[in-house]
């Protein structure tokens, strides 16, 4: 019968189990995925005509096809195809932007456009996805490095520049969803207003109210009108004694990424 092994056609005996295929095609495989479902040892599942088997060895960088097969196994082919062909823009690569980007890269979003003018500083390490050995690097370069470790095939446009009312819409002209991840209220409003004016049909997800360590479930998604959304408790800004802390920042970034995925999949 004919099956596919790592996306390539293969002919195998009519009575054949996954373990037989592992022994023949990749004996060192320790991740075995049959028709998008991960299998457990001893891989005794019987194979049928047309089955798709993916065999992966831990520690080896998977090929693009193998990587896609893994994402399909986790997310389903329909979700994966939609996300793979999507472009998400992220304005700001601080706590929110860096975490959000990592969620989206792991989800298999095909292209990320990320802009930030800053470099990694020691004070960022309490909540942003940067590491001590990346201090001094432009955030977008450090983030690109990290994202590529999680998803070697995500396309990243890393823009090391300061966004303003004039350059934001042109720089993000191809995005399907725009994520605002800035720090200062006046910058948030300026950037979002200019983008919405130029691209009213593109969904925009802002963030507001995530400082401190108040209840995480106070963070919520609010619709502001049109295709504009905001994530956060809307009230808790940075002030003396209420700084930005990793857990709430990560929750808010995760909510932004989740909303972006829902919008891309047409679920919102």
């Amino acid at each position: 019968m004919k099956i596919r092994v790592n996306e390539k056609p293969a002919r195998v005996p009519d009575v054949y189990c996954a373990a037989d295929a592992v022994a023949r095609f990749r004996p060192r495989a320790d991740i075995v995925i049959l028709n998008a479902l991960p299998l457990a040892k001893p891989y005794s599942e019987k194979l049928s005509e047309g089955d798709s088997l993916v065999l992966i060895t831990r520690g080896e960088k998977p090929s693009p096809r193998e990587f896609e097969a893994m994402l399909c196994a986790r997310h389903s082919a329909g979700v994966h195809d939609r996300l793979k062909n999507s472009v998400v823009g992220i304005a700001g690569a601080g706590g929110i932007g860096s975490h959000c980007a990592l969620c989206l890269a792991r989800m298999g979003v095909g292209t990320l456009v990320i802009a930030d003018f800053d470099v990694v500083e020691p004070s960022n390490l309490n909540r942003q996805i940067y590491y001590a050995d990346q201090l001094g690097m432009p955030k977008v370069a450090a983030l690109k490095e990290t994202l590529k470790r999680a998803n070697p095939y995500v396309k990243i446009t890393a823009l090391h520049k300061r966004l303003d009312e004039k350059n934001t819409a042109p720089l993000f002209k191809k995005v399907d969803v725009f994520i605002e991840a800035f720090d200062q209220p006046s910058e948030k409003t300026k950037i979002v207003s200019s983008f919405v004016k130029a691209r009213p049909a593109t969904p925009v997800i802002m963030v507001s109210g995530l400082a401190g360590c108040g209840p995480a479930d106070a963070l919520r998604t609010s619709a502001l009108g049109g295709k504009l959304y905001v994530i956060g408790d809307l009230e808790t800004g940075i002030r003396q004694g209420t700084g930005l802390m990793s857990p709430r920042v990560m929750v808010a970034a995760g909510m932004q990424a989740n909303l972006a995925v829902r919008l891309l999949l047409g679920l919102q």
Binding site: G92, G94, G95, I96, G97, E180, A181, F182, D183, Q184, P185, S186, K188, T189, K190, V192, S193, V196, K197, P200, M206, V207, S208, G209, L210, A211, S222, L224, G225, G226, L228, V230, G232, L234, E235, T236, G237, I238, L244, V249
Partner: protein, 91 residues
């Protein structure tokens, strides 16, 4: 003169003490001035800095963002929904 619904989100909602109110006004600016008369000094103190509406306030009229510079000219119609929102710092 139009009668519109003015909605508040975020910190300004706290200061207004209500989620929304029905208000008269021919323009966005006029509607905001009328709201100030009803809502008192805490509302105005949040909205203004040095006599001007804070630059980061967003005016969202029927789902569309209106430039802060044009709120004195933007005409309102009966039944319009105007949302007032300002993001707080952190990202």
């Amino acid at each position: 003169m139009a009668t519109i619904t003015l909605q508040f989100q975020g910190v300004i909602k706290q200061k207004a003490g209500v989620e929304s109110l029905s208000i008269d006004g021919g323009t966005i600016k006029a509607a905001i001035l009328n709201a100030e008369k009803q809502l008192g000094p805490a509302f105005s103190a949040e909205l203004y800095h040095d006599g001007k509406i804070k630059s980061y306030y967003m005016f969202i009229l029927n789902g569309e963002i209106v430039d802060a510079a044009s709120i004195g000219r933007k005409k309102l119609a009966d039944g319009d929904i105007l949302r007032l929102f300002a993001p707080v710092g952190g990202g």
